[in-house]
């Protein structure tokens, strides 16, 4: 078990290195002098060309690319992410302010969609081929066909502007208590989670129906277990494995979607900052944010993967499938 986890985590390293490299090459190709992103702007303005050239040498900007890459990566890990060219603020502080908000939003969306998706999926499977199942199937296919931002705009119009249940725009933590800041989260998180909820619902239903046909479900019934126990212990438990695989595939889409949803609600997270940075050609900031979001996505995938392994003794205990002792 431990061996599996360790190897899974070790595999993360090369993947992060490759993503990092792609981002770094992107930085290299981006227009603009890299040095502008490495020195605080007020200091930069008082330097002569010779100073800058000396600085370039001392900063190692003339070193081979691979050396610079690892130095950049190392600095990144230390928290030195450079400076935003446009606003002149250190990127680390921008990230520090905004990343938690984005993670909160995505996580909330994940929780909401998992609860709704599993609930409706389970009901749909248990009542398969009834009216309830039919309705939720139709809702499911409509759900996965809606653009997230369209749901967002509709939600904004109905719940924030017309009904005034929630604030329409923005998110500031300053001077807000937990309940108030939760109010800012509800609409974006729900809009973001809706599509995933629909996908999860469809998938849960099918995974459960699939498991229902398995022989061990028949065995469970033959033991005389009541239906709820059959569903809970033998059907749902076993469906969780394929469901978590779907989550794994869908998670990057959720994180991508957060960028758009933040834009709709003017939610101050890394996503909306990312768009501002792109429009302002602030490449250093763009790439760091993308690297971070990718890392979050990668880490979350590994977590889900480990969760799947925990569920399945065949993965957990190594694959000597069918082997007698």
């Amino acid at each position: 078990m431990l061996k599996y986890f360790v190897s899974r985590i070790l595999l993360l390293i090369p993947m992060l290195l490759v993503i990092g490299l792609v981002v770094f090459i992107g930085l290299e190709l981006a227009p603009g002098d890299p040095i502008t992103a490495m020195i605080p702007p007020d200091q930069l303005s008082s330097m002569t060309l010779e100073d800058i050239e000396a600085m370039r040498e001392s900063l190692g900007l003339n070193d081979p690319m691979l050396v610079r890459y690892f130095r950049w990566l190392f600095n990144l890990i230390k928290g030195d992410m450079g400076y935003s060219v446009v606003t002149g603020t250190p990127i680390a502080s921008i990230i520090q302010n905004l990343l938690p908000a984005t993670i909160k939003l995505t996580f909330a969306a994940l929780i909401i969609s998992t609860i709704i998706g599993l609930l409706f999926g389970i009901v749909s499977a248990i009542k398969s081929n009834t009216f309830i199942d039919y309705i939720s199937s139709v809702l499911g296919v409509i759900g996965i066909s809606m653009p997230e931002f369209f749901i967002g705009i509709l939600a904004l119009l109905i719940f924030a502007i017309r009904l005034k249940w929630f604030p329409a725009q923005g998110r500031t933590d300053v001077g807000l208590n937990a309940l108030q800041s939760l109010k800012y989260l509800v609409l974006p998180a729900c809009s973001l989670g809706m599509v995933l909820a629909a996908a999860l619902m469809r998938y849960t239903r099918n995974a459960m129906l699939d498991v229902l046909n398995k022989d061990y479900v028949k065995t469970a019934r033959a033991k005389g277990l009541p239906e709820w126990k059959v569903y809970y212990k033998h059907v749902f438990r076993n469906s969780l494995m394929p469901i978590s695989v779907l989550l794994l595939l869908r998670l990057p889409m959720l994180i991508g979607g957060s960028v758009v949803i933040e834009q709709v609600f003017g939610y101050a997270g890394v996503g909306s900052r990312l768009l501002a940075a792109i429009n302002g050609s602030d490449y250093q900031l763009v790439l760091v944010i993308i690297l971070l979001l990718s890392t979050v996505s990668l880490l979350a995938s590994v977590l889900i993967d480990m969760f799947t392994a925990l569920l399945d003794p065949r993965v957990r205990l190594g694959g000597d499938i069918g082997g007698a002792k």
Partner: protein, 336 residues
């Protein structure tokens, strides 16, 4: 014979499946009596309805299937007899019966155990469902049962997961799970089809030993005439949802009367004959169950078929409870 000597009496059972708009009559009027403490073999080819019959007894049919007609009278030793067919699939009465009074083991031991739970937990689940018993006592009983079924190091192996067991060992676990509550009837649905011959011999031997020790009744379902010759006291031969012939083992093997039974016996090679006798195949193929012929269902493939067979033949006793469903059963052409 006294009614109480039969642990199970099935009368004119009809089980149907609805697939889309088609109705498949999988079991179409089965009548059977199972003697207490004996072994009954139910033989037939795939799709003849033998498995559906077994699942009907447990009311373990899939959603599309349901019992349409007939009764399944179960007579437990220490309680009132009741008609299984009268209850809904999820009725408490049936739930209490399943796994406690009647147990069932399935064809494929590989997929019959839930891969995510420990072997021990899956067996104990069965005890705890039906008895008020401490966890410790349940574990003890599980280990004892596994030891009885000659699983080495049973106390350690209950902590293992199904994928760590071989096919034969898994089938032993299934048997243990079935017998742990001391049921009166064990239904074994092709229990050895997925196993190798030497493992098959082990499992069949074990089932016989356990029956001697615990005295339960067995219904064994198989397509292998050899297995029923070994195991069964009574044999029912099924074809297209109906019992074609029923009788004591001797009736079936020494005095086979239905043309289908005879054809079946002649179409399988017998070890020791060395390919001397040429096999006599049954011509044609089994008809589509949703489109069965009128009259005798074996007629299209039967060498003795005449005009008469276009009407459904009666199910008659030809002596000593030897039942045959054929127009020619009594002194007719089949006894030439």
């Amino acid at each position: 014979m006294n009614k109480q000597d039969y642990i199970l009496s099935i009368n004119d059972l009809k089980t149907q499946f609805k697939i889309g708009k088609r109705v498949v009559k999988a079991v179409d009027g089965v009548t059977l009596n199972v003697r207490r403490g004996k072994t009954m073999g139910l033989v037939g080819e795939s799709g003849c309805g033998k498995s559906v019959t077994a699942h009907s007894i447990m009311q373990l049919l899939p959603k599309a299937g349901s019992i349409k007609e007939g009764e399944i009278i179960f007579r437990p030793q220490n309680s009132e007899e009741f008609d299984i067919a009268k209850y809904r699939k999820t009725d408490k009465k049936l739930r209490n019966m399943r796994g406690r009074q009647i147990s069932m083991i399935f064809q494929d031991p590989m997929s019959s155990l839930n891969p995510v739970y420990r072997i021990g937990d899956q067996i104990i689940e069965s005890i705890i469902q039906h008895e008020r018993i401490s966890k410790k006592a349940a574990i003890k009983r599980t280990v004892d049962m596994l030891e009885m079924l000659s699983i080495p190091q049973a106390d350690k192996r209950i902590m293992d997961y199904p994928h760590q067991f071989s096919g034969g060992m898994k089938q032993r676990v299934m048997i243990a799970m079935g017998l742990i509550t001391n049921p009166e009837l064990l239904i074994a649905d092709e229990p050895t089809t997925a196993l190798d011959v030497t493992i098959q011999a082990q499992i069949l031997e074990l089932m016989q030993q356990m029956q001697e020790q615990l005295g339960f009744t067995i219904i064994i379902i198989t397509h292998n005439m050899g297995i029923v010759a070994d195991m069964a006291d009574d044999i029912a031969v099924m074809y297209m949802g109906k019992i074609m012939e029923f009788g004591a083992k001797e009736d079936i093997f020494l005095r086979p009367t239905h043309p289908y039974t005879r054809a079946l016996l002649k179409s399988v090679p017998v070890l020791g004959n060395g390919g001397n006798d040429r096999l006599e195949p049954i011509r044609g193929t089994t008809p589509d169950p949703s489109d069965m012929p009128e009259g005798c269902s074996f007629m299209p493939r039967c060498d003795l078929a005449t005009e008469k067979c276009k009407n459904a033949p009666p199910y008659e006793d030809v002596g000593n409870g030897h039942m045959v469903r054929c127009w020619y059963a009594k002194g007719g052409a089949a006894n030439e």
